[in-house]
Symmetry: C2
Subunit: 129 residues, 2 copies
């Protein structure tokens, strides 16, 4: 398969696939004309990466996960720990964003949103209370 084929079948842009080769996540062969030549196993890896990235794992996490996936003698505890640490980070981000949302919601609610200049949003940002 050429890169366009694996791109459409894996759901990843060709640019991203080249980048993943660059950083050593996949190692496709080359045809005589210099084109990358992807095996089914490469496609499988790319789909794996696509799903892991969609779950928010970093590239380095993905590298580790692929290593665990290919290691027949892995312990599921190692995978679970990685996933739990990632989950904790996601929950931290959610909490941060929710705090922003709550503050912003209050400010927006208090703002008339008309043609007058008086605005509690700017008042808050400027430190007035």
């Amino acid at each position: 398969m050429n890169i366009g084929d694996v791109a459409s079948r894996s759901g990843l842009p060709a640019k991203t696939i080249r980048y993943y080769e660059d950083i050593g996540l996949i190692k496709p062969h080359r045809s005589a004309n210099g084109y990358r030549c992807f095996a089914e196993s490469d496609l499988h890896k790319l789909a794996f990466l696509c799903r892991a990235r969609a779950l928010g794992f970093t590239i380095e996490d993905c590298r580790t996960l692929m290593g665990l996936y290919e290691d027949e003698s892995r312990a599921s505890a190692d995978v679970k720990q990685l996933a739990q640490e990632h989950l904790a980070k996601i929950e931290g981000k959610i909490a941060d964003l929710q705090a922003m949302r709550d503050t912003l919601g209050v400010l927006i609610k208090g703002c008339a949103g008309d043609s007058r200049p008086d605005c509690p949003i700017l008042k808050d940002l400027s430190g007035e209370r």
Copy 2:
């Protein structure tokens, strides 16, 4: 004030303050020795920026917000609209992260987390069902 003073009083690292000058958000004067020389109004702006960034506004949003803050004839509707657009983005991010959290939570729950290799997390990532 020197940069160290405004850094501790505004809550922003000195590096960040230099960066904000670089991109034109603030324009401190210079002393004879070449040091940046900050007025109270600069400190006020930096604190404004610090709070706006903490609410997740982008630098470009902050630039707009500062402009509105300094424009005595602004309409609060303009501020409100910016804030509402930002709120919508935050809510989108929260929804994305919650979806990740939920999926990840299910996978983690199903993983024994012991020394055996069998792992539903890897199974899911690899596309098996």
